[in-house]
Symmetry: none
Subunit: 248 residues, 2 copies
């Protein structure tokens, strides 16, 4: 069998089954695993599939995420960068939804080894791109408005965890009223997450500081750390320093 022919067969097989194992291909076309591996490397270089440990996966399988325009993206990137610095290998981390959170998940270092628990499908999707991160999805009814899982079943599941860290994308935050939101179901979920985490990190763009929404997620003492795009010494953050918050 011609080399080219073999490679086309591999491509075909990958597109058909979304993934292939080196050992299977080796058996199927009767060549050594080394040869298959070399073929996969070549095909991968040509961008026709994605090589992974032990085999390869179709790239149509992987590339379906679209980077939608997000409001004030640059600020969110700064926040994301700071947030990443709080995470350590081996941690169990909760995350909620929200574009700032997604931005953060996207830039997590490839080498990070941690377990993430999330209620956000997009969040889960981003996390899946990272090879060494274990992703646990909370099940339940999906809310169309917030794109996250909500409901009693979800809350019950969340309560089972004792996370090291929770990242909360906030809608409004204020020194007096704490974190507030305007979607009742979402507040319930966030409350459950807060209660199940040792440390709660609130992520907020400066614009949301000192704003209040209709429903309280947690009082001012409900979270310990605040991350914004502003430098920690910025005057706007002084009131939070006064409340003994860790400002990153």
């Amino acid at each position: 069998m011609l080399k080219k022919e073999r490679q086309e067969l591999i491509i075909h097989e990958v597109n058909l089954h979304n993934k292939v194992l080196v050992a299977d291909l080796s058996a199927k076309i009767s060549v050594s695993e080394d040869t298959v591996r070399r073929d996969l490397i070549e095909l991968s270089d040509e961008g026709r599939l994605v090589k992974v440990h032990g085999g390869a996966i179709s790239n149509s399988f992987r590339n379906s995420y679209k980077h939608t325009d997000v409001y004030s993206l640059d600020q969110k990137k700064v926040i994301a960068q700071k947030a990443v610095s709080v995470i350590r290998d081996g941690m169990l981390v909760f995350t909620t939804g929200g574009t700032t959170l997604l931005e953060m998940l996207r830039i997590l270092p490839r080498s990070l080894r941690a377990t993430f628990v999330t209620v956000s499908i997009q969040g889960a999707f981003e996390l899946m791109q990272h090879p060494h991160i274990e992703v646990i999805l909370i099940g339940g009814k999906l809310s169309h408005s917030s794109q996250i899982v909500v409901g009693g079943e979800a809350i019950h599941r969340i309560r089972k965890f004792n996370a090291d860290l929770a990242f909360l994308g906030v809608n409004a935050i204020d020194t007096e009223r704490g974190i507030t939101d305007n979607d009742y179901e979402v507040t319930l979920i966030k409350q459950a997450i807060i209660e199940s985490s040792a440390q709660v990190v609130a992520l907020s763009i400066a614009e949301k500081l000192n704003t209040v929404q209709k429903i309280q997620v947690c009082p001012p003492e409900g979270y310990q750390t605040l991350i914004t795009e502003l430098p920690p010494g910025h005057p706007l953050l002084q009131p939070y320093h006064n409340k003994n918050k860790t400002i990153v």
Copy 2:
């Protein structure tokens, strides 16, 4: 034999078999391999075939596979169309992962009012785009290789449902060995889904018919309906008719 004549013969061979080996041609027309090689180079320069190490392949060879890539998207659309016709308002429907399934979810009519339960994050994402569909996500650990939720917790959850319908994207299907797959975790999930559904619909492109993978998902009697891109009367489907499957 004239040079021209010989080259036409080579072209004929290539078009007939899609590939030729230098050694074969040399033997067949009783000229040295060098001559064949030189002919192949000339023909390749003229663009009448593609020379590769060891022989040559027909122009349409690379194309034919590429064709099937695009083509198979069309096939999936046909399957999706048929699958949609099986769903009725008010149904509780299970879906697994797989690109064919995603294609189907994408084209669901906007007016459909039903509840979908899924283990696929991409599937959930697609379903979220439909305003009147309630989406329930099964929670659990996400498998990197298959992009769906797996594990005992997920299976336990799945068992709680009594769905009207399950759409199963299959990896391999055969009249004797039933539906098979090559990822153990995935087979467990699919089995749970099958057991929790009144009617099981298998979605498969024709190319996967009569193929077998390593682990059985269910025996031939485990599903009731088969949907492919072929018309229901196609001879390839006759064996499935004989097994009393509903062919759409």
